[in-house]
Symmetry: C2
């Protein structure tokens, strides 16, 4: 809230009635994310969040900054900016969730050559909705108009999340051993990854037209927001499941993300017959002539989160998760860098 | 570190020798900001910062997100991107410093249509340098290439800072009373504000040419980084000064920022004869035909931080601060919204 180029949320709507209404609604939505931990100051230059109520032996903050990538271009084109607000919050939640952290607060940055209050309100409203669902405060934000830096009509959205985990509860994959099982939990869409390829494949096609192969208009599936796995991980914890490691399936897909949490001398054997690949991915692969291997490197292929746990807790975990979760693989011994073996093999 | 469009710092330099060297240097610079509080994980999806050593009754986190605004365009044009990295960190430090918080960690986002490893290394290197000077960890970052969203050759840089303050030590201006004194501390440049106006006034002028009125080339003065006031506030605290309120002079200048920390029924009377306005501002005002009032609304006019303190502590405070700090004003009773009275008056 500091630059001459920046405007506060409130100021963004000056003199424009529709804008004013949108901004008023947005401010209410943001306030609704504020619990007693959020301290209100006089003309505060930054947001204040009290850790007073934390009961932890050694609190460790987990933090991550991210953008939504080029999915925002699709959302802009179809006038659905609220969805990218949700995308960004949930993506960030999952990035720290896989370390065992729960979200405390989120800050945003929305920039463009020229911002309309309606657009800002849509993005921030989506963020506020996702924050509220996660019990996360939307603590602050900045908007910037930078003509010359941004292309006309385009927008970028950046967010930062801060969460907390007790040091003894950090999930880092260190205890993963051969014989452990891996559960996959369904994604809601490509989430926030692969949209450059998607836009390349789909070109100027009208995505609002119902597509029989999908049973829906592509745009509705493509812009479904990133799923937050906070409730699912909470359910696993409540059931007493020993979560040894988690992988958030983002850029790099099912090929590059799992190795990030595997310890040396291990690999993940993923059984592709154990979960249903959503028709959207099959449709994109056919339209674009994209090979299996490339698809699995770019997309989540229907699994947004992998959880590594002791084999004898699989049943308990699946009971806790309900539908949309499957026992998709196992940890195996492996000489060399941690990797993923697919069964059946991926076609190059 | 998550999108298909994103690249990690390391990956940004692949196949380019100069890039690789720049990235290697940058990684060393980032690591140098990491104390024992920064926990290294296996392929971590987010950064981890331990609060284990905090000794506070009720720790309150202070957080702020910001960009550097259009100063980045000037820095890009003159190939001085490291300075905007420093700008951004110091700007964020000051935004939470005025609430009494000290920085813990910083995260960054650097985006463009096409990023070169040298540019990323320059920006992040500047951030790392400023972080290290402040004892602040550069905990994480994200780079994004978004062709179509950013204009060719342009870059945006966004940062988020998280700091901490004990609840009882929050500085919020609440105890400010008529009769209190106000000290101003020198700025190093326009900091990160007013650059749209500066670029408008200076047009295509070659800013590397020595300017007799300034005793320097304008670009050298214009791109001097935002000053961090962390050492100065530390010196005031060490001297036992009772800091009642602080205003970071950013967008809105000396007119709009001080009221943000003043309680009801008070105003700031600012004596313009008490500090030297840097020649850069006089030069810009003459070149652009910009009135006094506008100058004071857009620029910091040579004062980057105002500190409100009891009148009988002024001498002690000035002794602690050394040069570049002046007793510039006083708090006076005032009916109506808090405001700033200038003496002599500003010319419209």
């Amino acid at each position: 809230m500091a630059h001459d180029e920046g405007t506060t949320y409130a100021a963004a709507g000056v003199d424009i009635d529709a804008g004013n209404r949108a901004v008023a609604l947005m401010k209410d939505a943001v306030s609704a994310t504020h619990g007693p931990e959020v301290l209100a100051g006089i003309g505060a230059f930054g947001g204040l969040f009290s850790l007073g109520t934390l009961e932890m032996r050694e609190p460790v903050l987990a933090a991550s900054t991210d953008g939504v990538g080029t999915k925002v271009r699709l959302a802009t084109r179809y006038g659905r900016l609220a969805s990218v607000g949700m995308d960004l919050v949930n993506h960030c939640i999952d990035d720290i969730l896989v370390q065992g952290a729960r979200p405390l607060f989120f800050l945003d940055y929305v920039a463009s050559a020229k911002l309309t209050p309606e657009d800002v309100a849509a993005v921030v409203g989506g963020m506020a909705e996702a924050c509220r669902a996660a019990g996360c405060a939307l603590l602050g934000g900045e908007t910037a108009e930078m003509p010359g830096v941004y292309a006309a009509g385009e927008i970028d959205v950046v967010g930062t999340i801060v969460g907390v985990v007790d040091r003894g509860q950090i999930v880092d994959g260190r205890r993963i051993r051969p014989g452990d099982a891996v559960i996959g939990i369904a994604s809601h869409s490509p989430h926030t990854n692969g949209y450059s390829l998607i836009r390349h494949v789909l070109g100027d096609r009208d995505l609002t037209v119902h597509e029989p192969a999908l049973g829906a208009a592509p745009v509705d599936l493509l812009l479904r927001p990133h799923r937050s796995y906070l409730p699912e991980v909470g359910a696993l914890r409540a059931a007493g499941v020993d979560i040894k490691g988690m992988a958030h399936i983002t850029g790099g897909g099912l090929i590059e993300n799992p190795p990030r949490v595997l310890p040396p001398e291990t690999a993940l054997r993923l059984d592709r017959t154990q979960w249903p690949v959503p028709p959207l991915f099959t449709w994109l692969a056919e339209l674009g002539g994209i090979a299996d291997a490339e698809m699995h490197r770019v997309f989540n292929m229907g699994l947004g989160l992998l959880v590594v746990l002791p084999e004898d807790q699989v049943e308990r975990a699946l009971d806790a998760l309900g539908a949309d979760a499957w026992h998709v693989g196992d940890i195996v011994p492996h000489h060399g860098r941690p990797t993923v073996f697919f069964s059946p093999d991926l076609q190059e």
